[in-house]
């Protein structure tokens, strides 16, 4: 989900808990809009060193331009051997953690469409 500002029309991702960054309109003027979970790789890098326990390196991250025109960064999932600039990707969810009440938490990632 992304957000659209009813005051100035700016679409943004991620959802902002405070205001529109373009015009300052409050959250009462921000509506959630569905974004297409597909796009293409704009830049890609394999991370060899990471300061957190997870994900375990090496893993591959990408700058992705969604078909809606919004740019996001995310971790690539699955086979990344042919991931390159221009590759089509789609969002996938992967199990990440379990909440205190037992609810499964998922992580949103992208996989190369073949």
């Amino acid at each position: 989900m992304g957000q659209e500002c009813q005051a100035c029309g700016r679409r943004a991702f991620p959802l902002d808990p405070y205001a529109c960054e373009a015009c300052g309109a409050g959250t009462d003027r921000l509506t959630q809009v569905e974004l297409n979970a597909t796009g293409h790789i704009h830049a890609v890098a394999t991370v060899h060193r990471h300061h957190h326990p997870r994900p375990v390196p090496p893993f591959t991250v990408a700058t992705i331009v969604l078909d809606d025109g919004i740019t996001v960064k995310g971790v690539l999932e699955g086979d990344v051997s042919d991931a390159k600039v221009g590759s089509r990707v789609q969002a996938v969810t992967v199990p990440w953690d379990t909440d205190e009440d037992g609810t499964e938490v998922v992580d949103l990632r992208f996989e190369v469409v073949r």
């Binding site: 700016r10 991702f13 991620p14 959802l15 902002d16 808990p17 405070y18 960054e21 373009a22 704009h42 830049a43 890609v44 890098a45 394999t46 991370v47 060899h48 060193r49 990471h50 300061h51 957190h52 994900p55 893993f59 991250v61 990408a62 700058t63 740019t71 996001v72 960064k73 995310g74 971790v75 600039v85 992580d107 949103l108």
Partner: protein, 382 residues
Amino acid sequence: MGRNILADRPVYVVGIGLHRYQHKTDTTYVQLGLTAVREALADAGMAWTDVETAYTGTALLGMGASRIMLSRLGATGIPMAQVENASASGSTAVAQAALDVASGRTDVALALGVDKPRGGLPMAPNEAGIKNLEGGTIVPFTHFALLASEYMDQHGVSAEQVAGVALKNHRNGSRNPFAQRQKERTMEEIMADPISGSMSRLQCCPVGEGASAVIIASGDGIDRLGLDRDRAIRILASATRTEGLYGPGLGIDAALTVEAAQDAFDQAGVEPADMDVLEVHDAFSIEELLYTEALGFCEPGQAASFVESGEFDIGGRCAVSPSGGLLAMGHPIGPTGTGQVAEVARQLRGEAGERQQPDARTGLAHMVGVGAVCVVHVLQKP
């Protein structure tokens, strides 16, 4: 817009001093800072009692760093404050000191940068309650690895060409006694030990400890204290910009630099082609390519070939990061921006020894910081 007070009342760098940048040691920040300030005072030929105000650029030391340190030169009671602007903290200390003097409030101001690593870099944006998709996976070296990927793809540049920046800056650093890394490296050494994408260990800056001090004075101050006018370097411009919302095309870091540079060049009444020396925020090798282009030294995609052909070498068209830059001199955070201004001033005085850019008259110092912020100073030998 207000007046350009640096044009109304000229201000000058009159003293510079440094404590070498290095891996964390048991040396206290007080000792690091005092070493730099004492050297700057001696360099200027003035006494601590001549300094009328002080700004300490630091991002990591915590509250109240200035007085406990600087009172060891004499508790003169002058106004002091810490300045935090992420990686640009020292640059903003220079800006505050320069604007203080230009305003006429004081004739002599100190800008000091000092820091020590504390295990991790506390960053307020991570506490802002704004979630993003990537979580903690895109740390700075990966952010710039992605920009390197984009740059190489768009301009048909190789990973070795990007690494050429590190080759040059490690060579420059080997001639700088204040640099944390003072060893010339081969391309093979630089390409070894990948960190993220094409960014290898020696293409990422070391964050250690150190200090650098810049003393700034008005013309009145120089005359009253009998300082050497021939060694005074004028600050022509001080520009600070924060990140706006940019359309597709230039990345945030480059677009922000374009804006700050435009402001600085307008204030100074100079052009990129006038620059002889440039200290840029090369925390990662790709950044020097992005910023030299954003500063207007060449067209997008050309900087890699400029590095390759030696145009950015000491002795080339414009010496870029003659100090070794953040890659080799190091990036101890608070001192980095003040250290850049010290290096540019040293070059414009013609006192940089074996790393001297011949006939250097005009130079520029550029820092970017998390936030994002960008601070640019233009200096010139009168």
